[in-house]
């Protein structure tokens, strides 16, 4: 067990108030411990935590490019292995770096089975460049490149199911988590870094700036995502779904209404047709992962 009282991601970084990814950085290192090398992709977290000559990282940290963190981590792992070193290697990358531009390097690293943990801080759009749509952006979210308009209800595609894609690579451990449940994040990180082979953790990280909510509501929004069924916390081991967080599901409306990115679905009056489609996504999630608490 690692010492979870250690603060290895320091204060004084430049994230927005209530930043979900900043919470994850702290929790991630509590779960992984001091004996960790972190590989970052280009993105919000890299920028808010390492403006030269300052750094918030108390563990070894490296950033190369936007898309190649999984390959850089592969190389680090190879070097450690060659020299019988024991550090854990973690990638921490945004959803753009993970779902989109980094797919090539990630697929290669997982197919090769490097002993790395790849963590995606999923805030569901390119936030560092100003809230552009990514493959992780949920259906109907309005972003600067998938804006709602007279002919548009926002992003017209559902979120890519990346955990299943990496599961199909034969990853020994694939899990999702949310910063709204910090103990769960730490537990899953600790499990991932101690599981041999390439592991993937996708962590829902509400972004007050990109999603449009007050920075004091990050945890609340994260919980609403879970309770609506639009985000599911689950674990897959050796290809099998072994655990999913069960909930007493509530309709998606409140989660959507709380965020400016979905505001267009309620103005001037509720777009019941589109809201029903989003509800159907939540219903499908509930069915797929069996998260509904059913009373006999």
């Amino acid at each position: 067990m690692v010492d979870k009282s250690l603060e290895l991601f320091d204060c004084g970084h430049r994230a927005c108030g209530g930043c979900g990814p900043a919470m994850l950085a702290r929790l991630m290192l509590k779960g992984a411990g001091e004996d960790t090398i972190v590989v970052a992709s280009t993105g919000c977290m890299e920028v808010f935590s390492t403006p030269y000559p300052e750094t918030a990282w108390k563990v070894p940290w490296i950033h190369s490019l936007f898309e190649n963190a999984a390959a850089v981590a592969s190389g680090i792992e190879a070097s450690l292995k060659h020299n019988n070193r024991t550090e854990k290697v973690i990638c921490i990358c945004g959803d753009g770096a993970t779902f989109d531009i980094g797919m090539l390097c990630i697929s290669g690293a997982f197919e090769r089975g490097h002993d790395i943990t790849y963590i995606c801080y999923d805030n569901e759009a390119y936030m560092n460049t100003g809230i552009q749509r990514s493959g992780a952006t949920p259906y109907d979210a309005s972003t600067t490149t998938s804006p709602a308009g007279r002919l548009s209800t926002g992003n017209n595609r559902p979120k890519k199911d990346l955990p299943q894609i990496l599961n199909a690579h034969g990853a020994s451990y694939v899990a999702t988590a949310s910063v709204a449940y910090p103990m769960d994040v730490m537990k899953k990180v600790e499990k991932a870094v101690n599981t041999p082979g390439a592991c993937y953790l996708q962590v829902h990280c509400p972004c007050s700036t990109g999603w449009g909510f007050d920075g004091s509501k990050t945890i609340e929004i994260g919980k609403q995502a879970i309770e609506s069924g639009l985000w599911v916390n689950y674990e897959m081991e050796n290809g099998e779904l072994v655990r999913a967080k069960k909930v007493r599901r509530v309709p998606v409306d409140d989660y959507l209404k709380a965020q400016k990115r979905f505001r267009h679905l309620f103005k001037p009056q509720p777009n019941t047709e589109e809201i029903a489609k989003i509800q159907a996504i939540a219903d499908a999630n509930a069915e797929k992962y069996g998260i509904d608490i059913k009373l006999d």
Binding site: P53, T55, I76, A78, C105, A109
Partner: protein, 386 residues
């Protein structure tokens, strides 16, 4: 030990002797024989390295970057399109000051697709912050790998380097080559001592972003290191000469330049053809000479100026095209700059793109063009297909 060996296999031997801890590469013609042979070495236990078969050149160099940052000596090799795919990482490696050595089997760039030789690939990345050396024959391109590692890893340099050689023309040619013993290379190239590395016992952050307050100075430091590398590469060549008897201490090599009326400038395997052509031209009373550029980055402007002093006409043979530039080739303008104010006429000739043979008679014809003051042009166009 002197052996008859394919160029690629000689390079694989050189890479093996340098004891990289991690080898990562992606197959591309005409580099493949190098990485196949290295895979054999690892499979047979003749090289104790992690051999990482990646899914692209982007990952090949990224893996090398990670291993290097963790403190390992690493090796990769590529060509052409592969180098272009890794281009973003190429710049990044230099900026992060990782002394990675990579072999470049020079090949043309598409479109149209061509697997054959010119030097467009490495020359296109001349500004990436890697030193670049070019071998003329199998022995030289093999030896340059030892020198490249030795120079790159010096803490007053810490720059990556390309060892370039003409694809097929050298990579696939069998020549007699003296492969040093492991003991000899161990004596010449000590284990890599990183300046710093990723280490949980001494945490540091690498690859941070720089605001306008700092970026400018980072690039200055990189250029200073490149400038310093000239003497370090030269010294590494001198030490190599003392141990092995083959002297690569000069960034250029002069061939029959003493009383030359026309000087050729070339890089790589073409130099052999040019030397033969020069011998024939001299037999016919044409006083021609060659300045062979071995180190292209850092550019040996001072040495070139000295070599060209008093030569009226200079013909730069360019296996590249700087599209839209006045002189056509990329090397010519730098040669011209080196002799600014001397009255020496410098002309570029774009030759042999995409693997077209350059013959002795072409060299002689180019000398005649230079004498007439005709240059900065393509040479040898098949006008009938235009």
């Amino acid at each position: 030990m002197m052996q008859i060996m394919e160029g690629s296999h000689a390079i694989a031997e050189a890479a093996r002797l340098c004891r990289p801890e991690v080898v990562s590469a992606y197959p591309i013609t005409p580099q493949t024989h190098i990485v196949e042979r290295l895979a054999d070495f690892v499979a047979d236990g003749d090289l104790n390295a992690e051999y990482i078969c990646v899914e692209s050149e982007l990952s090949a160099l990224s893996v090398c970057l990670g291993s290097s940052a963790a403190g390992s000596r690493v090796y990769s090799a590529t060509s052409s399109q592969g180098l272009m795919l890794m281009a973003e990482v190429v710049f990044n490696v230099a900026g992060m000051r990782q002394p990675i050595v990579m072999s470049i089997a020079n090949r043309a760039l598409g479109a149209p697709l061509s697997i054959w030789n010119d030097q467009q690939d490495s020359i296109s990345l001349r500004d990436a912050g890697w030193f670049q050396v070019y071998g003329e024959d199998v022995q030289e391109m093999t030896d340059l790998h030892f020198i490249a590692y030795r120079a790159a890893e010096q803490h007053n340099v810490l720059l990556p380097g390309f060892v370039c050689f003409d694809g097929f023309i050298l990579s696939h040619t069998y020549e007699p080559v003296d492969i040093p013993s492991q003991e000899e290379i161990d004596a010449y190239l000590p284990p890599y001592v990183p300046y710093n590395k990723l280490d949980a016992k001494a945490p540091l952050s690498m690859g941070m972003y720089a605001t306008p307050d700092y970026y400018h100075e980072f690039r200055y430091e990189l250029d200073e290191a490149m400038t310093r590398s000239a003497d370090v590469i030269s010294a590494a060549g001198k030490e190599f000469a003392e141990m092995f008897g083959r002297d690569y201490s000069g960034h250029i090599e002069n061939y029959r330049m003493d009383d030359a009326d026309v000087a050729f400038i070339a890089m790589g395997s073409l130099c052999g053809t040019v030397k033969d052509a020069i011998d024939e031209m001299r037999a016919d009373g044409i006083k021609a000479g060659l300045v062979k550029i071995r180190t292209y980055r850092p550019f040996p402007a001072k040495e070139i100026a000295q070599a060209l002093a008093g030569v009226p006409k200079v013909a730069v043979l360019e296996k590249n095209i700087s599209l839209g530039s006045a002189m056509k080739g990329a090397v010519g303008p730098e040669v011209k700059d080196a002799v600014t104010g001397t009255g020496i006429d410098v002309y570029s000739y774009v030759v042999g793109l995409g693997g077209r043979d350059i013959r002795k008679k072409d060299i002689r014809a180019i000398a005649a063009l230079a004498e007439k003051g005709v240059g900065n042009t393509f040479y040898g166009l098949r006008t009938e297909v235009l």
